[in-house]
């Protein structure tokens, strides 16, 4: 708690007077950071504030000790530089095209090896949970990175609610597939085998760092970021953090995953961030932080994206060059 608050404090006051925040960052970002703080500390006030996007709603979230105190990437970049191939392969395509996705109503089916399978309406799914703000590093397999203030809750809360059977070893996830709302899924050469699917080992899924996110920067998720609900697994490459989830299935066998099916040599099931295992096309030793201008300096990529202390024991004894 203490750490998180000091983190947020630093976030707010790293540009402390005499320099005014509005002088050095875009107004919306600066306002945004204020919203976030108010949202976290003075819920009453934040409710009175209008959300930035017409379709967005303000979310109340408590700070988390699992947050990093690094400076978050500007909202503008988080919402305009996306990989969401259902809406096009260009980085700005999702921001342009994803508005067509209907996110209300939304149901998430949780089934497979569980004692209480259920189809949750999103509102019911969220009712019992306490939303937290988790400021996480995000490392894309393409060699760039962001810091994103997600709003979400531990995935384990949903899994516990449906009571996994002893035979369940893996968790499979599926993204909504609606060709009529998704301009990127048609075409002569489908870029991926739709729907987008991902998977985790059950113990990975139960890890407190793995969250289901429903918002960022204190508001509900923009469609291009995976609205209304998405996975965030910060120690793995970004493509593991599947967007717009409609189904979660517990299984005994390792589930297929989209990029692994597309190119098994380049994308493994685990896809933990690992500077020592190069992607055949890109070195993974360094990463380019997004939003720092033309002369942004690459920085070294950290094992497990810097979350090694928390997650390394999940992989004890495994050869991570083989299980990449």
């Amino acid at each position: 708690m203490e750490i998180a608050i000091s983190g947020i404090h630093r976030l707010l006051f790293s540009h402390a007077p005499p320099v005014r925040p509005s002088e050095i960052m875009p107004r919306d970002v600066y306002l945004n950071r204020r919203d976030l703080i108010l949202g976290a500390t003075a819920a009453g006030l934040s409710a009175a504030m209008a959300p930035r996007r017409a379709e967005a709603a303000q979310l109340e979230a408590s700070p988390s000790p699992l947050s990093t105190d690094e400076e978050p990437t500007a909202l503008e970049h988080i919402t305009n530089y996306n990989n969401y191939y259902e809406f096009g392969t260009g980085k700005e395509d999702p921001a342009k095209n994803a508005h067509t996705l209907t996110t209300k109503p939304w149901t998430v089916k949780v089934d497979g090896l569980v004692s209480r399978p259920a189809e949750f309406d999103l509102n019911d799914l969220l009712k019992p949970v306490t939303l937290e703000e988790r400021v996480y590093r995000l490392r894309c397999v393409e060699g760039w990175s962001m810091v994103i203030p997600w709003v979400g809750f531990p995935l384990s809360e949903v899994l516990n609610r449906v009571e996994p059977l002893g035979s369940a070893k893996f968790v499979a996830f599926e993204t909504v597939l609606r060709p009529e709302e998704m301009p990127g899924v048609g075409g002569f050469f489908p870029v991926l085998d739709w729907p987008y699917v991902e998977g985790l080992r059950l113990d990975e899924a139960m890890h407190p760092l793995a969250i289901l996110a429903v918002g960022l920067y204190g508001e509900t998720l923009p469609n291009q970021n995976g609205a209304p609900i998405r996975l965030v697994v910060p120690w793995k490459y970004g493509f593991k953090s599947i967007k717009s989830i409609v189904r979660i299935t517990l299984m005994e066998a390792q589930p297929p995953t989209s990029w692994n099916k597309q190119n098994p040599r380049e994308y493994g099931f685990y896809s933990n961030v690992n500077p020592e295992v190069d992607h055949p096309r890109w070195s993974q030793a360094t990463e380019l932080p997004i939003g720092q201008g033309l002369f942004a300096k690459r920085k070294p990529t950290l094992m497990f994206n810097g979350y090694g202390e928390q997650v390394a024991q999940l992989y004890a004894g495994m050869d991570l060059t083989k299980f990449y």
């Binding site: 075409g187 991926l192 690459r298």
Partner: protein, 215 residues
């Protein structure tokens, strides 16, 4: 000698002047995309990942000029429109863009981290193909002046056929840069394939015509 050139100039001054002007205009227009994208870069208007965008814009323009260069001959043969006099300019623009593209990668992206760059060239097929294309363009650019054309004679023609390999390597480079199989690199690859197939077809036809005559 001097006298005769003067007469020639007086007799047909406008085409030569027109050629010079048009060539200059082609350079100006040709460099406009680079000037524009660098301007956007330096004024922080290239979005979230400006280095990558700069690399990609310069890369795609390199490929476009390469395609324009390779289109000159078929265009003349098929339609009679001759831009042969501008082919050298288009070829040089290709080379300058390739240099800018490479310089962006070396200086801005990797900041002359020679170890990382060497590892990239050896280990990453897409960089290997890009380097191959650039390496071929260097001698072609160096021998693109009138003096070299005259001095090398038929060797010049043979040497400059290497541009076909450069084009192939560039098209493969683009296919390998992207994840999965989006449309654009496939389209560029197809255009280059058609331009090269045209040459191959012509070559085979010429050989077939020659063979019965020799027999």
């Amino acid at each position: 000698m001097l006298h005769r050139t003067d007469v020639a100039k007086k007799l047909r001054p406008s085409p030569a002047v027109r050629f010079r002007l048009l060539r200059a205009a082609l350079y100006w227009v040709g460099f406009a995309p680079a000037v524009w994208v660098f301007y956007l870069g330096f004024t922080n208007q290239l979005g979230a990942n400006p280095v990558r965008t700069l690399e990609q814009e310069l890369g795609i323009w390199t490929l476009r000029f390469l395609i324009a260069t390779l289109t000159v001959t078929p265009l003349r043969n098929l339609t009679g429109i001759s831009l042969l006099r501008y082919r050298r300019t288009l070829g040089l623009l290709t080379f300058y863009y390739a240099l800018l593209h490479f310089a962006t990668y070396m200086l801005i992206d990797y900041r002359l981290d020679l170890q990382a760059i060497t590892a990239d060239i050896v280990k990453r097929p897409y960089i290997t193909f890009g380097m191959l294309a650039l390496a071929i363009l260097v001698p072609l650019a160096v021998t693109s002046n009138d003096r070299m054309v005259r001095r090398l004679g038929s060797t010049w023609t043979k040497l400059h056929r290497w541009v076909y390999l450069a084009a192939t390597a560039a098209a493969v480079h683009y296919l390998l840069v992207v994840k999965s199989w989006p449309l654009e690199p496939i389209v560029y690859f197809a255009i280059i394939a058609v331009l090269l197939a045209y040459r191959l077809g012509k070559h085979l036809r010429r050989r077939r015509r020659r063979r019965p005559a020799a027999a």
